[in-house]
Structures are given as structure tokens and as C-alpha cells.
Symmetry: C2
Subunit: 342 residues, 2 copies
């Protein structure tokens, strides 16, 4: 907890759900449950209607936001909105960064995870979930070290040279992982599009990883609601043969990529979709910024850009990009002035 930073003047903290519909479970055998330690046994009929497909959205609204539209933070696969909060090593995360910069910030937990809850399989979801292992996270998705470098003993793990993820906090990072399914893309896209439907004045969409494809696709589905799309290492992107990039020709796009991408097969096979969509956007006349951090001399960034030790610098890069496009005023945030006088 960090006491030295300027305060926020907050209008409201709250939450809501989008998407979701009642589905019926049937043909399941009766069960019985003890609901609390030493409690009585209660019969349970698991059949009936439950809610499925909803997405959770938590907002923090400022008294005097400097940005005219909110910033929506959409997490990656097997993750929740938590990865925008305090970093695993205890520093303020991007939620706080962009609140302090003057944005109303909306952090969601997509369908199937976190506070959005999940629905039973195989009755509602077609398959069983995947639980990300520490080894897979370390060696592949998050690119903390090369193949074979993970070890259960922290002292024996071998991170990439120059790695910017604070590996002493790796176990704390594991706490953020959530089971994921491979069958919920349509439901999730629908919920994200519905969220944009709740933004009459539009919003800026900032995504990570799996959230990238959802964000890029939502912009095509709701171009009048999306003022900009910022994609941190999207794991996928719309197919130009299926989606028309001209629909988002007026929406500025920013892509940011870290280091070690060519050393991990997941990324070697995943990135070309984003490159194709980038090229299609440019051909359509779109304002596209494509940043590969190593090309700017910034080495050592992992897939956890918002948790690496230079996460504030990268957030600052995003903020400058938005300021250059008039998405937020330049200068001193209103909140800092309010805090200073309080």
C-alpha cells in the first residue's frame, strides 16, 4: 500500500453485469449438502434454471475525469480483471495508473471467470476447463524463461537474461490465474459488445492477450462506440477475410509487444494474425501504431507487460499515445489538484 501518491476524488465505485441468460439444467441426480461446518444436511435438487454467459464489470468513476470517455480494461485468457490491479510484487497497477491519469476506469471479468462466475460442463459449456500450470505460464505464455527453465524450487528457475518480470513474485502471480475454456468465444464476444452498448458516449478499449481479439472485433462490431483500441500482445485478431477493416478506419489502434517473442512457439504461431490485421487496418487508412519494445531499446519485457518492473513506463507510453490523439487532455490531472488542496 502506497501512501505517498496523490489521492483520487471518487464519485462512485460500483459494478454491474452484462450478457447472461437463464438456462435450464435437467436430468441431474439429487444431492445433499452440508452448507457450513457442523451444519445440518440439506437436500439439493440441482435441476432448474441458472444464469450463464454473464460478464462482470466494476467501475470507478471520478468526480472530475479529465478524459471525456471511460477506459475499459479487458484481461487475457485464464485471467481476470485482477491483473489490472496491484501487481504481484505489490506496486499499484494500471487501474490505479489510469485513474490517477484522470480516466473513469471499468475493469471487467469476462464470461466464465472471476466474478462473472461459470456454468457447468458438459451441461452448458461443451468441455472441461484448462488449468494453467506454473511451468506453462513460465516457459510459454508469459515468456519468463526458455523451455526447460521452470523448476518447482524458486532458486533453480532460470529466467531469460534481463527479464523484467519480478520473478520473486511468481507465486503471487499464480494466484491470479483462473480456469479457462476453449468454447466460450461467442458468448464472451457478445458480452463485450453488450458492454459497449452500455457506453452511449463511447469508450477506449485497452486489452491484454486473449482480450485482444475480443477488443479488435468489438471495435468492428461497434465502431461508433470505440474511440481507440490499445492491444497489449493480442493472442489473436480478426481475419480480414471475415471482418472489414474499413469499418474501423477512423478508430486509432495501438499495439505493444515485449521481448523474447521469437523464442516461444505459442507466440511464433499466434502473432501473425495480429500482423495481418495491422496490415489490413493500414490498407484501410487507419491510424495504427505498432510498437515492438526491443526496437526502442526496451528489452526484457514479458507477456505480463502490466506487471513487469517497468509497467508504469509502458502505461505512460500508452497515455502519451492517447494524449497525442486528443483522447485525454494534457497537463496536470484534476485529481492531483484536488488532493493537494485537501
Amino acid at each position: 500500500m502506497h501512501d505517498e501518491a496523490p489521492a483520487l476524488l471518487v464519485r462512485e465505485i460500483g459494478s454491474f453485469f452484462v450478457g447472461g441468460e437463464r438456462v435450464r439444467l435437467q436430468g441431474l441426480p439429487a444431492r445433499a449438502r452440508i452448507s457450513t461446518s457442523h451444519g445440518p444436511v440439506h437436500p439439493i435438487d440441482p435441476n432448474g434454471e441458472i444464469m450463464a454467459g454473464q460478464m462482470y464489470v466494476q467501475y470507478v468513476r471520478l468526480v472530475s475525469p479529465r478524459a471525456p470517455v471511460p477506459l475499459l480494461l479487458w484481461h487475457g485468457g485464464g485471467m481476470t480483471g485482477v491483473n489490472w490491479e496491484t501487481t504481484p510484487d505489490g506496486r499499484p497497477g494500471w487501474q490505479m495508473f489510469f485513474l490517477r491519469a484522470g480516466f473513469d476506469v471499468f475493469v471487467s471479468d469476462a464470461v466464465e471467470r472471476g466474478r462473472a462466475s461459470w456454468a457447468p460442463y458438459p451441461q452448458v459449456y461443451a468441455e472441461a476447463p484448462y488449468f494453467r500450470t506454473a511451468k506453462e505460464a513460465w516457459e510459454e505464455t508469459f515468456r519468463f524463461g526458455p523451455a526447460g527453465s521452470w523448476h518447482t524450487d524458486p532458486a533453480l528457475r532460470r529466467p531469460h537474461a534481463g527479464l523484467r518480470f519480478p520473478t520473486a513474485a511468481f507465486d503471487a502471480f499464480l494466484n491470479q490465474f483462473a480456469p479457462r475454456w476453449g468454447c466460450n468465444d461467442v458468448l464472451t464476444q457478445r458480452a463485450y459488445n453488450a458492454l459497449l452498448g452500455r457506453m452511449p458516449d463511447g469508450a477506449i478499449v485497452l486489452t491484454h492477450s486473449q482480450g485482444g481479439n475480443f477488443g479488435l472485433t468489438a471495435a468492428v462490431a461497434c465502431p461508433d462506440r470505440v474511440r481507440a483500441v490499445i492491444s497489449l500482445e493480442p493472442s489473436g485478431a480478426p481475419d480480414p477475410a471475415e471482418h472489414d477493416p474499413r469499418l474501423v478506419a477512423g478508430v486509432p489502434h495501438l499495439f505493444i509487444w515485449g521481448d523474447y517473442l521469437d523464442q516461444h512457439s505459442f507466440w511464433v504461431s499466434s502473432r501473425p494474425a495480429s500482423e495481418r490485421w495491422r496490415d489490413a487496418l493500414r490498407d484501410a487508412g487507419c491510424d495504427v501504431t505498432w510498437i515492438e519494445l526491443p526496437e526502442r531499446g526496451i528489452r526484457g519485457n514479458t507477456h505480463a507487460l502490466m506487471a513487469d518492473d517497468n509497467s508504469d513506463d509502458i502505461a505512460g507510453m500508452v497515455l502519451e499515445w492517447m494524449q497525442a490523439r486528443g483522447l485525454i487532455g494534457a497537463g496536470q490531472p484534476v485529481e492531483r489538484g484536488a488532493a493537494a488542496s485537501a
Copy 2:
């Protein structure tokens, strides 16, 4: 979203995890996953270490809290911390109420749910989860109507006469439900006790339903860290034959109960445990307040006391009880003054 209310001067919003340990999955067959729409197929080895047993805690810290210690909000079974946020019908919930009253507020998602994530069964958890049906919620746990009064068509549902839950928001309430297990009480209690271990100056614990037993038991486990226990309709309580109430003789306890309790078998069988613990606390000389709202002429309250249409009145009753015990100063909150001058 409510713009007329006084603002909060917030020092930091953040989160952390407590509990949790790495567990090893083994002997599971290889799988393959498509991670994003139109993405490549990735091989997945589900074997390896994952995190299990962690609990998620989100805090909002004020610049100038009026209360000397934080307020911890612990949700009920099959729920997450969301039930302290915006009510299903869109009013500010108890998180905002107690922030505005001058508390630092910590909202947790207990083990197995929400942002705490969950672990696979039968490999880690012993059994499959329970998914609460709309009918069960309506007719039994939350006491919205008598047996047989639920209907899939909202127009044909028959709530109790005088019901204070806003039934037009019932589907929105279903969005808050999370799968629950019957096998995680020990892990969960351990995580709650660990949370209190993170509170060097102590805290006030305010619980709902299943959270009740955890809160009452945590006070016995960590009496030096708990300044007061407030239990909204606890579904269970410590057994005086197993736990010594004299350990919490100096900790004031408040219990609050709604209406219709004798009409629902879950509550007829669940409440005696709390009555026994109440009596044991009183015998030990503890300051115990036991409020049955109908005895005060307040009728129609359900098990969702923090979402009923008089939720602010009940929160106000809790606040007065705390003020009477010196747990927070009386008078105008600092935040209101700050907001007024901003």
C-alpha cells in the same frame, strides 16, 4: 450511477491474495486448445503445479478514514464479494455505504469463487460443485416466496406479502451467484484467519450467511485482531463444545435477522447453531446484540439484507451499533467535508 452523493477522497484501490499453495496435478491426459477465435491449435500438458486455496481481497483505502481499523466484508455461500457492491436494482451497496461512513473497506472473494479462482475436482477438491438454481434461491435460501411460488415467468412468481427484495431485479441477482463446494471449509477458514493476520491493528468483520460461521470462528482464532463481529443471518456458528466463547468475551457481537425465517426449512434447521453460540457468548460475558427485525416492526426483509429496499437503513443500524461502541467516531465524515470543498 448516482451523482448526487458526496465524493470519496481515496488513497488507494488495490488487491492482494492470502492463503494458497502450489499443488501438483499428475496423470492427466494431454489436450490441445485453440486459444482465440481462428487461432492456431496449441498442445496443452495439464500436468504440473497450479495454485489452490488462495483468497482474493480488494481494498479501498481513504485518505482520512474516520474509523481506526478497516471493515472487512465477508460474503455468503455461493456468492462473491459482488454482493457488497451495487445492488441488483442499481443502488449503491454496503461497500459504498461504509466507505462514505469513513471506513477503509476490504471486500474478499473466499476460496473457490470469484477472483479467488478454484481448483479442479476430483484432483484437488473432493467433489463436484453445486450450482444454485433460481427456484432454490427464491423459495429457500433467500426467502423471496413460499414453497411453490417460483415460476420461470416473472409475472407468475408469487413473492411473500410485503417482501422488501426488489424482485424485478431477480435475474440481475442471479448474475451474482457462484458455484460452491461442500468440501472447502478448512481451506476457507485458514484463508480468513490469514487475512486477519495481515491486519496488525485489527479489523471489524461483517459477514453474511455462510460467511457468518467463518467470521465468528475467526474471532475465536484471532481475538486480538477482531474488534467486532457483525453477522447478517449466519447460516452456522461455532459449537461451544469445540470453541471457547470466553476467548471473545471482549469482542462485541451483533446479529441481524430478517423475516419469514420460520417458513423455510433451511433456516429452521440452520438458525439454532447461532442461537447456541449467542447464548454461550452471553454466558461468557460478551456484549451481544441480537436483532430480529420483525420484533422492531421492520417486516419483509429477506436473506439478502444488503440488497433489500431498506438496505441503507439496515446499514445505518449497523453503523449506529458501531458508533455506540466507539468503533468509529460520530459526526460528519471527513470525506463529505473534503468533497464539499472540492
